[in-house]
Amino acid sequence: MTDQRSQAEIVRQSLKRRYRKERRFRAYGIMAIAIALGALLILFTDIIGKGYTGFVKTTITMDVQLDGEMMYLDDPTDERQIKMADFVEPLVQALIKEIPGATEDDRNQVRELINPYASVTLRDALKANPDWLGTTQTMTFLTHTDVDVYVKHAGDDAYSIKLNDQQKTWVDELLERDVIETSFNDVFFSGGDSRDPSKAGILGAIVGSLLTMFVTLILSFPIGVAAAIYLEEFAPQNKFTDFIEVNINNLAAVPSIIFGLLGLAVFINLFGMPRSVPVVGGLVLTLMTLPTIIISSRAAIKSVPPSIREAAEGIGASKMQVVLHHVLPLAMPGMLTGSIIGMAQALGETAPLLLIGMVAFIVDVPDGFFDSATVLPVQVFLWAGSPELAFIERASAAIMVLLAFLISMNALAIWMRKRLERRW
């Protein structure tokens, strides 16, 4: 009796301590989550704070007098004449007219406000509309990057303002009169890379990423699933299959740059495939993603209860029928989830692509699997290393786009798991 009493006494006495312990344990867990969320928050505020201005472009709208004599042009359909025509002069003249007090003597300072590629825009517009020659058109052009930086970041210590005081007064005045305006940066989403930050876009990198990911998906998914099915359902359990299993697990932990070296040696040097193309990028990323897909697919197959197999076998299904009609459909959601996570990992990879030449300055948007291309994370890497400060905001903006892709892929994986997964 006394024994029991003391037992209960001991329990009661320790109860408080045990509750405290539990509360402490929970607090540790909450702290861990808070730290992780805090790090994420810092990352996001930093990137968004630096990058949101990358989604804004600065343009200038003016009445351009397309005077044939001034441009040395009397037939815009003649290629030779187009080549020798002066498309800068009409822009400079139009801008001088917009700035009260500016004269012909200020032409160099005025010219520095216009984007160097604005003359290309004018040339292409005139080529498309030959009848514009001799008329006056209201057109919108990008401003020079220096103006863009001034408009967006005046007073920001992280940026250098390169305009002189005269130019600053002009820009302030033009801003007030809405000749210079800021608007959504569609150029960023419709153009390829450029060395001029105002003109640089990520469309080329997005298309390159999509092409590379497509190759990765159509290769790694069937190969990975087939390997997993064989290893899980058909392969005999012996030392050899153990050896394969250990090595697949090892491959999943190999640093990604090794796959790049392998790709360089095998696909480019041995097979003679071209450098910098999405096919080779896709092949390399396939090698990298395969172990992830095989491992997750095997786990998905393992989680199909044996009763399903036994029931199918019991009514006379062959081994292949069991696998294809019953096991595979039930394991598919898990396999897809694993594949999507593997693909998301591949989407963010730069290191293996460095060696096969996909870390490159490529202006033209790729239009095929054998066209030179680069991918989104590489574009971020290239911009972050550029001397022009205006690329910082573009790099951060590109990171946001990349994160959006990654988040949507992971969300898709979660949605598919929720939607398709069956519990027994």
Partner: protein, 346 residues
């Protein structure tokens, strides 16, 4: 059975994509090489792409050595057409090219780049000789005739005219061409000023005079020079080593140290008066001219007055352009494309 068929189709499509990779003809110029030349070559490539009907050349930043290795791999469209370098081709690289059948190469010297030691405008500027710089940053320095691990903690330990502040310098990692040039042109040159350096053997000279201290005074910042710039602006006790173009881009916030009495200006670097200046090059594979369209036109764009003249667009992005006479020579070279010979490199 439907699933079975679908699987087979996907697998077939996959293998077709993998197999159908012929070594196809290329219509885009492929350029590799130095990360120092990259910002200039990309501007030329882009201008070339918008001005002409050729597609815009593809540029990879592989470093000078990596670029020459790829370039010398052989003839054929799977190999690059042009390589950029922030130093001259070595004789060993020339021989590698020759042995792989890349016999006809034309060399273009396209201007200069200076390496600067910069700090925030609010920091105390350095006025330093190369000898003092070596004593501050070398891994081993002579003390009483013995080479010992660098004991200098503050700049003023090296020379009393220098600031009484801890030595802290950020610079590029050993993989960078800028670091190679810094070691060679700044440190080794400073080391040679010391009387003790005369008695070093060739191997000792390379290992002592061209190595940077590793005790934390020199901080390797990775290839991203923007990062160094950001650090300098935030930390007035820090100095940074990078290319002249980054100084020019941040001229309103950074100041450059005086080296051997010379301030890095475009003029001083072009005239080779600034001690840590180097020439930039590109090499053209002549066997590809006419095979890959646009090579001759790209070279002529690069060497034109619009690009490299005194008002050229390359000057705007920080290239130190060659004087007019040298540019005229380059223009001639672009037309005749003379072969590079081993004797020129020796």
């Amino acid at each position: 059975m439907k699933l079975n068929k679908a699987l087979a189709t996907v697998a077939l499509a996959g293998s077709v994509a993998a197999m159908s990779a012929p070594a196809m003809a290329r219509d885009t110029i492929s350029i590799v090489g130095s990360s120092t030349v990259y910002p200039f070559a990309t501007v030329v490539a882009e201008r070339f792409g918008t001005k002409t009907d050729f597609s815009t050349p593809k540029l990879e930043s592989t470093g000078s050595g990596g670029g020459l290795k790829l370039f010398c791999q052989g003839i054929g469209t799977q190999h690059p057409d042009i390589t950029n370098a922030s130093r001259r081709m070595k004789t060993s690289e020339f021989e590698l090219c020759q042995s792989n059948g890349v016999t006809d190469i034309t060399e273009f010297r396209i201007g200069s780049d200076g390496i600067v030691i910069a700090s925030s405008k609010e920091a105390e500027n350095l006025d330093i000789t190369l000898e003092q710089l070596f004593l501050a940053l070398g891994s081993k320095v002579p003390v009483n005739g013995e080479w010992v691990a660098n004991p200098n903690k503050n700049w003023s330990d090296v020379d009393s005219s220098l600031p009484n502040k801890p030595i802290r310098v950020m610079g590029p990692p050993p993989t960078s061409g800028t670091r190679d040039s810094f070691n060679e042109l700044a440190l080794a040159a400073g080391c040679d000023e010391l009387p003790e350096a005369a008695s070093l053997s060739k191997d000792e000279h390379a290992s002592i005079c061209e190595s940077v201290r590793e005790d934390g005074a020199f901080i390797e910042a990775g290839e991203n020079d923007n990062l160094i710039v950001q650090k300098l602006i935030g930390d007035t006790g820090m100095y940074g080593v990078f290319g002249y173009s980054f100084l020019e881009e941040n001229a309103d916030r950074l100041q450059a140290a005086t080296l051997n009495g010379m301030i890095p200006t475009a003029e001083a670097i072009a005239a080779d008066e600034y001690p840590v200046a180097r020439s930039l090059f590109f090499y053209v594979k002549k066997a590809h001219v006419g095979v890959v369209p646009g090579i001759a036109e790209y070279v002529s764009e690069f060497t034109s007055n619009a690009a490299m003249g005194q008002n050229g667009y390359l000057k705007d992005v920080g290239l130190i352009v060659p004087p007019r006479a040298a540019l005229m020579d380059l223009m001639d070279k672009a037309e005749s494309m003379p072969n590079l010979t081993l004797d020129e490199l020796k």
